[in-house]
Amino acid sequence: MQFEYANVLVFLGLGLFLCAFMMGLGSLVRPHNPERKKLTTYECGEEVQGDSWINFNIRFYLVALIFLIFDIEVAFIYPVVAVFKQWVADGNGLFALTEIFIFISILVAGLVYVWTKGDLQWIMKVVVPVKPADDPKQSQSPKVGGTIYVAD
């Protein structure tokens, strides 16, 4: 039983070896021109501006989440498509169809919800609910890069 864990050990060793091997090989082949500028933070070729601890738009996460949901939808539909013919042959075609229909209608409900709430629009009217007294920093919060707040 304990011996089965040897697989993990071998895997670990192999991984470490591969890393060291690749890096070592690279250092042998590549040119070597150290320069000060190469040590600065890389930000898509731009000069670094300001602190990374700033407010940024939460909609990035929101869009990522919505994308994820529909990504997973596709991932779940593929296996159904793969076995559907088999299920029809077994006489369970209607059952599989109903099941996937329920699944998709729940996701469509999510889409309707997101759409109605206006989360599919990148420029969106935002009513900021935070009371000014509640957050002393609110008045002097920095301009947020790339986001547009339109307060009602």
């Binding site: 039983m1 059952f95 729940i106 409900a109 309707v112 919800y113 609910p129 935070v130 509640d134």
Partner: protein, 493 residues
């Protein structure tokens, strides 16, 4: 019986009601402008789920969803209890001024989703299912905790809850992976069988695995040392959510913990006595947890001036009391736990309801908001609060006393004197801070600046029903203990 997914749906009526209501409310929120209907719909769904759970009582016991969850007396007891907890939370939310204008559609959706999760926590018989259910309840609770966006305290609480919950569930799932490695199965009954045979596996690794899994359970029931989140979260969350966390989610945690420890890590012997699997004396560990939990909860509660925070520490202390029934490894202990959880529902929710009425009236939740409450128009809420406080302290004619009596009886029957003495001392300590609230309400004179207490019938009626329940079950508790007795059925295949 061992049913497949589709066949199981016939036995999942309570969950189906909640799921349909969850999606329905979310969609209805987009269509209607009278948002109060959403809350009323959620209330009906919880009532329907309670009714459907009660109707399951006569059904054949067995596994549902390919051995993922069990349908047995224990699960049905908790389904009934948890739907009533969700009912109380929804009812309180409808009467709470804190939650006015706060996206009711999303709020009730999340609350009902959490309730669905607690159902599966209570009935899961598979580590994976248990973990998913726990995580589902946790995720919805995080959002509910920070639901009032303008409240900084709420956001802080939600973040603390999230971080703490993440660490606890990470530890838990790691422990589960170790157990899977040792037993080769995720199914509780199979784990129980495989680990029963003494082997090298029942050594320190199993102990560490159980300790890690305990972190997840301990976090859910706020057992020391996994309790750190609860005072902040209870104080920061909207009051109905706090009430739900302290009753519903905690009870679900206990249900899950009992099922795991009693089905997977113990086996039933004759005469209602259980034995642990060989080489793993988990009760010793939890005796220690129980003692520290109740002592810390009570000592910390002594110095609180915020009543919501005080009730949070009191809820930690009560988790310690309930654990007393967990460690004795007997049916008597288990039924004392179920009985105590049921009485805790009455008295704790009652205390939160009165606190909510005071909060609605004066926008304050500290001790001073209770000053002379009985003499400025709040005679009935004050009387109800006194009942709940004395019941929580375990003073005789109330249900809390009977609950404690059964717990002590189970512990003394097992001759665990140390635990019994510590618990008795703790009850005395707790009387001080519970009585302090009663003293503030009755013996302190109200100041001119204190607002006149106006009681709305909505919350007042609920507090009244709970107070009557606390008194009735303190005098005539037979039906409740019979129900607890009948519910001690664990389906093991």
């Amino acid at each position: 019986m061992n049913l497949s997914s589709v066949e199981s749906l016939a036995y999942s009526l309570p969950e189906l009601i909640l799921v349909f209501a969850t999606v329905g409310i979310l969609m209805l929120d987009l269509l209607i402008t009278r948002k109060r209907i959403l809350g009323e719909l959620a209330l009906c769904a919880c009532g329907g789920a309670a009714l459907a759970s009660a109707l399951l009582a006569g059904a054949e016991q067995g596994y549902l969803f390919n051995q993922m969850v069990a349908l047995d007396g224990f699960a049905i007891f908790f389904k009934l209890f948890l739907s009533l907890s969700a009912f109380a939370a929804v009812y309180m939310s409808l009467g709470s001024r804190e939650l006015d204008n706060e996206h009711p559609g999303e709020y009730y959706t999340l609350l009902l989703a959490a309730a669905t999760g607690t159902f599966y926590m209570a009935s899961a018989t598979n580590l994976l299912m248990a973990y998913l259910a726990l995580e589902f309840v946790s995720l919805t609770s995080y959002v509910l905790t920070g639901f009032i966006r303008a409240s900084r305290r709420g956001s802080e609480a939600a973040l603390k809850y999230l971080i703490y919950g993440g660490v606890a569930s990470g530890a838990m799932v790691y422990g589960m992976s170790l157990i899977f490695g040792l037993a080769g199965s995720l199914d509780y009954a199979t784990i129980g069988e495989r680990l029963l045979v003494p082997s090298e596996a029942n050594g320190p690794i199993l102990f560490i695995a159980v300790l890690l899994v305990l972190a997840g359970f301990g976090y859910k029931i706020s057992m020391v040392p996994f309790h750190m989140w609860s005072p902040d979260v209870y104080q920061g969350a909207p009051l109905p959510v706090t009430a739900y966390l302290s009753v519903g989610s905690k009870a679900a945690g206990f249900a899950m913990m009992i099922r795991f420890f009693y089905v997977a890590l113990s086996h039933a012997g004759a005469g209602g006595v259980w034995a642990t699997i060989e080489g793993l004396e988990w009760p010793n560990l939890i005796v220690l947890g129980s003692i520290i939990t109740m002592t810390l909860g009570n000592l910390a509660a002594l110095r609180q001036d915020n009543v919501k925070r005080l009730l949070a520490y009191s809820s930690i202390a009560h988790a310690g009391y309930i654990l007393m029934g967990f460690v004795v490894l007997s049916d008597a202990g288990l039924r004392a736990m179920l009985f105590y959880i049921a009485t805790y529902y009455l008295m704790n929710l009652g205390a939160f309801t009165v606190l909510m009425m005071v909060l609605n009236n004066s926008d304050r939740e500290d001790m001073e908001a209770f000053r002379g409450l009985a003499w400025r128009g709040g005679a009935l809420p004050a009387a109800a609060m006194a009942v709940f406080m004395f019941s929580l302290a375990g003073v005789p004619p109330f249900a809390g006393f009977i609950g404690k009596f059964y717990l002590f009886a189970a512990v003394i029957d097992k001759e665990m004197w140390m635990l019994a003495i510590v618990a008795a001392l703790n009850s005395v300590v707790s009387l001080y801070y519970y009585a302090r609230i009663v003293r503030t309400m009755y013996l302190d004179q109200p100041l001119k600046s204190d607002p006149v207490m106006t009681t709305d019938w909505h919350s007042g009626a609920f507090a009244g029903v709970l107070a009557v329940g606390t008194i009735v079950f303190g005098v005539y508790w037979r039906p409740l203990i019979d129900l607890a007795d009948k519910s001690l059925v664990f389906f093991r295949g």
